[in-house]
Symmetry: C2
Subunit: 277 residues, 2 copies
C-alpha cells in the first residue's frame, strides 16, 4: 500500500528530485497494531534532516495521518512503514526551485520474518570492502543517497554474512549496512561517533538511553578496527530488528563470541520496557 | 517528453531503487537536430558506471532508440536529453534483488538559454562551503547520489555566483557543482584528479584531448586551493555549456582574470572542430 501526499498512488512524477538526485530523507518505522513505534524519535530525526537539507518538514500530525490512511482494516499486528520525504518536483539542474513543494510518500509493507536464531544465537558479521565517504554536512542523516549501503549489501551473500560492518577511509568502524553497532569493551559500551558519516539510528538512541539507565558507561567514540579483536561483545541494532548479537566476525578477523552477558541484559531490558519492535 | 523503457510515461513506480537509494546513473546529453552529441563518450561512461555498480547496461542502440522515440517531429535544432538508468524495482532493503531489471528513463527538455556574457566575458565563481566526501568506489561516476551538489548549488544565488567550486575535506579543488574545472598555470593545463571524488565529465575528456592535440601539456593532478591565487586562467566546462571562462573568483579569494589566451584558444578550437555543444 502506497500513499503519496495523502492519496493512494503507485507511482511518482519523474521530475521528483528524490529520483533525480536522492534529494530527500526517509524513515523506516515499526508499526504495532497500526501504531508507529518511537514516533517522536523518528519525527525528530526527520525534522533535523529536513532542516539541514533546507526542506520544509511536514507536520507530525500530517505524516501520522498519511500512515493511518494507508493502513488496511483491520491492521495487522505488525507492519513496516517507510516514509520518504523528497524536495518534490524540480526542473533540470541541481539547484532546488524556490519555493519547493516537498512530497510525502508512505509505503507499508509486511513485517519481515527473520530466523529466530538471529536473536537466539546471534549472527555472523563480515567486514565490507565498500568504504563510507566522510562528509560532516550529511553525517547522521537518513537521506536518500544510499549507494554505499547498496554496494556494501551486495558483498554479504557471497561470504555468508547476515550483516556487514562498514568503515571509513581511516579504517574506523562506523556502522552496519542497515544497523548501528555497539561493542562491549571492559566495563564500557562503545558505539562509533557519527559526526563524519553514518546514520544516527533511532534504536541506537534508545539503546544508549537504556544502557545509561542501567548504569552502564556508554561512550560515542572513534572505534579503531583493532577493537574488533579485543571487544568482549558486539551487537547491531535497528528499529525493525531491535538487537542482534554478533555470534561471529568472519575473515579476516575470524573470531566468535560465546557468551554475551551485557548484550543479553540489554535485549531483556529492551523487551521488558516495551522498547523492542 | 518522458519515455520509460521505451514507452511514453510521466511517472515511475515508487519501488524504483533510483528513488529509494539513488541506485542508478544518469547522462545529460546535448541533442543537435535530434542527434546525441558525443554519444560514444556518454555511453562509455554509462557502461563503466553500470559495471562498477553491478547494473546491466542496456545496449547503445536501445538507448538511442528511446531518445529517437521521445523526439518531437520536427525535432528542434537543440534539446537536452537526460538519460537515467536505475537498477529498477526492488523490495525494502538495500540489497538488490537478483535478478534486477534495470529501468531506462529518457526525459527531453528545452535547450537552456544562458546570458551571452557567460561566454563573452566569463562568469563569477564562488567557493562552496559544502565539501565533497571522498570514496574511490563511487569516484568519477555520474550516479544518482547528488545531495552534495544540491547543497552546494543552494550556496550560489546568495553570493551572486554563476558556478561554485567544490573541494574535498583536504581542501583540494575537485570540480564545479555542475562542471569540471581546468586551470592554466605557467605553460600547463591542470585539472583535478577524480580518483577520490568528482564526476568525470564528457566535456572534460574532450577538452583534454583537444588541448593535447594543440600540444598543450595537460596534467590530471591534485589541485591545492592555493593554486586559485596563482593560476593565470581558470575555466569550467560541461556537455551543455561547452567552456565558460572564469572572469572572477569571489571572496575569500577575491581576484579577477582579464585576459585568458589559452582558454580563448581552446574555445575557438572547440567550435572550429565542431566539438562544442
Amino acid at each position: 500500500v502506497i500513499y503519496v501526499d495523502g492519496q493512494p498512488a503507485n507511482s511518482l512524477p519523474i521530475d521528483d528530485r528524490g529520483l533525480n538526485y536522492g534529494d530527500g530523507l526517509f524513515e523506516t518505522v515499526a508499526l504495532r497494531q497500526g501504531e508507529p513505534q518511537h514516533w517522536d524519535l523518528h519525527y525528530a530525526r526527520l525534522v533535523d534532516g529536513a532542516a539541514r537539507l533546507g526542506i520544509d518538514c511536514p507536520a507530525s500530525a500530517l505524516l501520522r495521518q498519511d500512515v493511518a490512511a494507508a493502513l488496511p482494516s483491520p491492521a495487522p499486528s505488525r507492519l513496516v512503514a517507510k516514509i520518504i520525504l523528497t524536495r518534490g518536483s524540480g526542473g533540470r539542474g541541481y539547484a532546488p526551485p524556490v519555493p519547493s513543494h516537498p512530497r510525502r510518500i508512505v509505503r507499508l509493507s509486511a513485517w519481515p520474518e527473520w530466523p529466530q536464531s538471529h536473536v537466539g544465537e546471534g549472527i555472523p558479521l563480515s567486514l565490507c570492502a565498500t568504504p563510507l565517504g566522510r562528509n560532516p554536512v550529511l553525517a547522521g542523516l537518513k537521506h536518500l543517497n544510499r549507494l554505499e549501503q547498496v554496494l556494501a549489501s551486495r558483498e554479504l551473500a557471497a561470504v555468508g554474512a547476515v550483516e556487514g560492518l562498514m568503515f571509513d577511509d581511516l579504517a574506523r568502524l562506523i556502522e552496519g549496512t542497515r544497523t548501528n553497532v555497539f561493542l562491549v569493551a571492559g566495563r564500557e559500551l562503545l558505539t562509533p561517533r557519527l559526526d563524519q558519516c553514518g546514520i544516527a539510528g533511532v534504536m541506537r538512541t534508545i539503546v544508549m538511553d537504556l544502557a545509561r539507565s542501567l548504569s552502564l558507561h556508554v561512550t560515542e567514540t572513534r572505534v579503531e578496527r583493532s577493537l574488533l579483536y579485543s571487544a568482549n561483545e558486539l551487537f547491531v541494532c535497528n528499529s525493525l530488528i531491535g538487537i542482534w548479537p554478533a555470534r561471529e566476525i568472519l575473515s579476516p578477523i575470524g573470531r566468535s563470541f560465546s557468551s554475551m552477558p551485557v548484550t543479553r541484559r540489554l535485549m531483556l531490558e529492551l523487551a521488558a520496557r516495551d522498547l523492542a519492535p
